[in-house]
């Protein structure tokens, strides 16, 4: 479904991604783990068209995303929950959700999806008319995920959804991600520093170091890998 081939991305003269190749199959959850500054966010931003690779291709269902503008990439079915949630602080919860459905014209479907995200996260329905900036960190993450779901994506990109959240909330959010993947068949590309949680929910994983993919395998294998255990699982 998504195929990154030999992607190289630069910020000025700094090379953030080096020959990165990742493939995501329809219906699966894959995770990309790595230390601070490894290039995980850059990988997702390259898929969304916010940063442009200098070389390599990013194919999504046979279209090269490098040729599309960010809004066309959303229209193609990719939705990105960025690092740090980026809720619009002065828009209400409802307005944030409306913007998630910005490109959609099927108002009946949008209403149904709104009900769906309120079922997933009932707290959002209570906070509906509150400004986004007044929500707690956990609520903001729920809103960020819901907002992206409102686009009804086929591929959901998530950048560190566990960042700064209490373990219980992280648990809850990961369970819901699995539920979204199972119920709707939404393919999920999960970037995480919380490697243990990510490797538990994902089917396959990639490990990134200094802008390069150094390891990839089924998550069950990665969880037993000595190198991974030592570097990312703190065992």
């Amino acid at each position: 479904m998504l195929e990154l081939k030999m992607v190289n991305t630069f910020y000025g003269s700094i090379q953030a991604l080096k020959d990165v190749s990742i493939s995501v199959t329809k219906g699966e959850i894959i995770t990309l783990i790595g230390a601070n500054g490894a290039g995980k966010t850059t990988t997702l931003m390259s898929v969304s068209g916010i940063v442009r690779p200098a070389s390599g291709s990013i194919l999504f269902e046979d279209r090269d995303l490098n040729d599309l503008e960010p809004d066309q990439i959303v229209a193609a079915g990719v939705s990105h929950v960025p690092e740090g949630r980026r809720i619009f602080p002065y828009l209400t919860v409802q307005e944030n959700l409306d913007l998630g459905a910005y490109l959609r014209r099927d108002s009946a479907g949008v209403r149904k999806d709104l009900e769906y995200v309120f079922e997933l996260f009932p707290i959002l329905s209570q906070r509906r008319h509150q400004a986004g900036g007044t929500l707690s960190g956990g609520e903001q993450q729920m809103l960020a995920i819901s907002r992206s779901l409102m686009a009804r994506p086929r591929l959901l990109l998530l950048d560190e959804p566990s960042l700064g959240l209490a373990p219980l909330i992280v648990q809850q959010i990961f369970e819901i991600l699995v539920q979204i993947n199972r119920q709707n068949g939404t393919t999920i590309f999960l970037v995480e520093q919380n490697a243990y949680m990510a490797l538990r929910v994902a089917h396959r994983g990639y490990v990134m170091e200094n802008g390069s993919i150094v390891l990839t395998d089924d998550t069950r294998v990665l969880l037993e890998n000595e190198q991974v255990k030592e570097a990312y699982l703190g065992v």
Partner: protein, 300 residues
């Protein structure tokens, strides 16, 4: 009392014109954090467009009110096209450079447009026809309020209401607010930010042109330089209200209009501009984010 009411009305008129202009400053700043120094020139170009049209239409024998409506609409469309083009050629190319580049580009645009109109038209003042008809019901008021003042205030109020509705409830309005808060996030949700910026320039330029036409019809003369002082005053009003905030721009405009007219009426008309800048200095000292501005200046 009637003297007071007269000054009140004159402040309201000034405030209305400032508001029509200040909207453009504040909306543009809200989205691309640029002080569009050439905004006053768009107002001036609106006035010139209306003057040319009014001359042609009056030869054609139309009545004043029809001329006013047609000339205003055409001036708004024409100026909007100017604003749109200005953004594309002078601001978009430097959007990702340092702030200073965009500011210099804006000042250059302002000088270019002033001198272009001076060469294409004249540097003398030209008489502007009084297009606003006389409403006799205003004679019944105990204080002096001309038809022009009445039309200016009512038009401004209608524009503000429409704009508030647009920003608050429409799809484009929501995307404007989103882009002003976080452009990258708006893009990640499928908002075409370039288009949002263009629409902002279109709207701001059209309302500025409307202000230019109305005030010229009130004062009765124009030249290539009218946008300069009006632009600076409207900018002061926008900062006063909190740059980036639309209600702030409106409030700041009326506060400025009244300060000027009461200051001129009760103290001395020689110091009119001094009052405007004095109030700016005061607000910058005591509330740098402006009357309704958000602390870190974010916006619309």
């Amino acid at each position: 009392m009637n003297y007071f009411l007269g000054l009140f009305v004159s402040g309201l008129t000034r405030g209305s014109i400032y508001a029509l202009l200040a909207l453009g400053y504040t909306m543009v700043y809200g989205i691309i954090e640029l002080i569009n120094f050439a905004h006053g020139e768009i107002y001036m170009i609106g006035a010139f467009t209306a003057l040319i049209l009014a001359s042609v239409l009056s030869i054609a024998g139309l009545d004043a009110l029809s001329i006013l409506v047609i000339a205003s609409l055409v001036a708004m469309i024409y100026s909007a096209a100017y604003g749109y083009t200005m953004e594309k050629i002078a601001y978009k190319p430097v959007r990702h450079s340092q702030r200073l580049s965009a500011l210099i580009s804006a000042i250059g645009m302002s000088l270019f447009l002033q001198n272009y109109v001076r060469l294409a038209q004249t540097s003398n003042f030209l008489p502007f026809p009084a297009l606003i008809p006389r409403f006799t019901f205003l004679d019944l008021l105990p204080f002096r309020a001309s038809s022009a003042q009445f039309v200016i205030f009512v038009t401004t109020a209608v524009v503000m209401i429409l704009l508030t509705f647009l920003i608050k409830f429409t799809r484009i309005g929501k995307s404007m607010r989103a882009a002003s808060q976080d452009k990258t996030m708006a893009m990640l949700l499928g908002v075409n930010v370039n288009r949002v910026i263009s629409v902002t320039f279109l709207i701001g330029s059209a309302t500025a042109a409307l202000g230019g036409v109305l005030i010229s019809s009130f004062t009765g003369q124009i030249n290539f330089f009218i946008g300069f002082m009006a632009g600076i005053k409207a900018f002061v009003a926008a900062v006063l209200g909190g740059i980036g905030s639309i209600p702030g721009a409106v409030l700041g405009s009326f506060v400025l209009g009244w300060t000027e007219s009461f200051g001129a009426g009760y103290i001395s008309s020689d110091y009119e501009d001094v009052f405007a800048f004095a109030i700016l200095v005061l607000i910058l000292i005591f509330k740098p984010s402006g009357l309704l501005g958000r602390p870190e200046n974010k916006k619309v």
